[in-house]
Amino acid sequence: MKTYFLASLAILLACYYVGSAFAADSGAGEVEMLVFPDAYSAGSVSNGGTISGVVKFEGDMPEMKVLEITKDQAVCGATEKYDESVVVGEGNALKNTIVYLIDVSKGKDFDKATKLEMDQKGCKFTPHVQIVPVGARLTMLNTDKVNHNVHIFSSINKPVNKQQTKNRRKMPLAGVKKAEGPVSVKCDIHGWMSAWIAYIPHPYFAVTNEKGEFTLEDVPAGTYKLGYWHEACGTNSGSPASVTVEAGGSVTQDFTLKLK
Amino acid sequence: MKKLSLFTICLIVLVGSWVVLRFAIGGIVSVPIPGSVIAMYMGLIIIAILVHISVEDSLFREFLRPIRETLVEDRRQVRRRVIAVLIPLFLLGYTYSIIAQRANPPGSPRDAHPSPPLELTYKDEVIGTMQDVVNPFRHYEKDDPEAFKAHVENGRRVYYQNCFYCHGDHLDGQGHFAPHLQPLPANFQDPGIIPNFQEAFFFWRIAKGGPGLPAAGTPWDSAMPIWENHLTKDEIWDVILFLSEYTGYQFRTFGEAH
């Protein structure tokens, strides 16, 4: 009897580990994940430093694929839509890269005033990459007067799958419990629509703009691992950049990424 | 209360027995009884009634009395007229239904256990005579249980990648494609299947599929593929091992009585 109990316990544990190990790399398939600190304590930061830089794309600028608009032409097909997995601007600036502190354990709190919105105008998610603090509500906008279906392929948190009917201009989504991501966002109705959401546990995350620029402000003085994530170029989690921030100082760290 | 006449009692016994056979026994107690069986029982009951009423002259006369009364007596006029209408009407309807009955499609007689050829082949390669060929991996069962297990596991893989669509997860012939196939796929859980055949017979049926059947097996109807086109010889032997391992049935071996 006892051996049975022990055996089932062992199996249970084994399955638990196998299961959780799998859960960590399932869902988004090949896409690599961000690395989050085990714990983070938020407080006020005085005399923090700034990390900024530019992310560039190495190699020939890939041609942006025109997406095939298969329905709702009047609204969705009004302008041409492109595959936004790699968006390169002037001077090879790489947009939509997440740059973040990997090993920060203490620092400022989230700016609660930041509006968290993702628009679906013209049957396209804007922004393409959105960072959302854990627990915060992201509002999905629909001004198109077409039906959308917001499907967020979370695996650590519960997946989100919500119909946003054509007249529903705003649809707030419940805050999530755990840091995760980035996870894929799709619209089941318009198969070409694609975006990414990262649920972040601390505010030291930035997404590069069309000039490839990012800025992390109010960083407490210290030495940090600076990581990046890009949908098509992957991450540097294996060998992150090391940056040292001095109190009140600013430091620059640029990255050059190429396709995986 | 008026005493029932013998004729009425006989009628009640007759109709009552039919109701009991058709609905009570063949419905509530067990599955419906075939019409021919019911007809046989009814015949026996009629004979019993006839014997009963004909043992004594008086009894027989008593039995015929209501019939005679109905036919001639004035006080039975209403009953007589009703019967004179009902019986011809019933016969009219019955004959019409028989004559107007639509023709039914011909059945397709099929030999479920067709006789195999004398020689077992894989593609064009002759393996041996049907009687002598044994599963080359069967001996591992005693000699090398580990190797045997590996073959069974490979057979399991082969089965679930190829066979289970029709023959089912549980090898019971109820795969998700099965309900719409005619003839139905074989049910290996049926105790009359595996124990009645040698492994070589199964090899033949698997390797050559439906088109390899003799005419009596209606080879044109069977959806069993010619598996030698998809599987290796070893894979077929492995899947045969798996069939008996999973079901627990032993294939017939040479020398045993049929």
Partner: protein, 573 residues
Amino acid sequence: MKNRNVTLLMLVLGIVVGTLRCAVTYAQNAPEASEKGKEVYDQSCAHCHGTEGRGDGSAAENLLPRPRDFTRGLYKIRSTESGQLPTDQDLFDIITIGMPGSSMPGWETSLSADDRWEVVAYIKTFYDGFKAGEAPREISLDGKIPYAEQSVETGKGLYVELGCVECHGNIGRGDGTSAPTLTDEWGFQTWPANLAQSWNFRGGADTEAIFKRFIGGIAGSPMPAFEGDSFLHFGLTVEESKRLTELENKDEMTETEEAESEKFYEKMDAAVNLALNRTEGIELTAAEQQTYDDAMQVVYEKSWHLANYVKSLAPEQRPEPAIGKNVLRSQYVQDALPGMEDPVWETLQARHFPLVGQIVIEPRQFNPTIDSVDVKSFYNDTEVAFLFTWDDRTHTIGDETDETTGKPLEDALAIQFPVKVPQGPTAPKPYFLWGGRLPVYLWHWKASTPEQVTELTAKGINAAEVQEAQGALQAQGVYTDGQYKLWVKRALKTDDKKDLQLDPGVFVPIAFSAWDGANGDVDAKRVVSSWYTFVLEPVPSSRRFVYPPLIAILSLGLLFGLRAAVQRRNSVS
């Protein structure tokens, strides 16, 4: 007396205990996970669901829908709210009944109830969310709105309003414009349910089951749940919602209308906020809970109407296949045969021919999307006309090509006959897959040329030849709302020796092949049927008006004769 009382008491006790036992077995919980559960799972489930429950067993590759991956705790068929785990009973029921339209069989006859419970316990070990042991929130079936025309009508309106049409199509045949691009959360292609084929509903087709799929969603699939935070006009009463829809559908609102709608939006925002709080685990006050419950009541009410509408779209059961008494009989008409749109077709009951994936010859189709073809037929003294209908979620006319063969992918149907009808039941027929040693005669229709049917002669699935003499057939085909309708007419007799010649009263073997281009069907990759039969139903013999009256008169005569005989005998005695 005392004894009697005791007996009575025992009887009552027995009944009470018996009922309790029933109640207990009804909502049972799984036992602790054990070795036995693993043993049963490995023997019966692992080949599809994988030894580690990831849905990656050796058979998984060729299956669509894919076997479920148990490691994420996402279960499609639940009696619990969205985002909740299934109850043990849910898992037990799915194992017991299986999932129609998928490769998941019911295990009721092949595994004992105890074994099935053991498997439930074992499956739960694949996802640690089950370990918390919290009872999932179950969907209440109270307040069910009974099936009625009015409810169906209301549901029909909601079907459009809620956007069901996007995937399930105008009248529910799964032909929505978004249907071809759907994937599940594992990235595998998935097709929306054809609501006209309720026999393929994975979780059963009763109204309660349909209702549960709305409130609970179908986890892992693109089917969203009807939840507070996303449901249309959540927080408004039915009347308010109606009014807001009116306002929203206006091209432009006046200022007062704008203000009116704004008030509605504020009310909705407040209710949505409560729903979000609830999802996030923030406890609601009693008043808030009441507001939420009231709002949810409307969601439930609308869902029942919608469930009734969905229920109305399909027959109660799959029609009986066209064998035995359901064999296809072409009906005789004296005049010209009806054209495709002639209402006279409605007077015939269609005969149902289920189709299965062709998995005998490469390339094979393991995941068919065409379920069946329904057939009606009329004939007159010179010609025969057929009306074929079959559901296909997509209208594919060869714009895209198959990667391996380079051939255009397009929807098609082929009707197969033997060239010569076998004489007698034991006479050989051609091989059911487009013939073999004996040839078959085929009518091949393609969606790109809907007015044309090509006559083929084939001696094998890859050995078909276009007949030299064409033009014997008239055809017309249309595609509407996820359904093809094909009308074909031919003379009973032709001059071509390679054609089948038709005579009334002769049972002719018939079989079908169908292709769904969007499902990759091309060449041998298709769905097929085995041989069925059809007959030009002979005009009933006129003898049926002669013999029955004759027999009736005879029997009457017999009765009179008997009476006369008895009378004579009486007078004699």
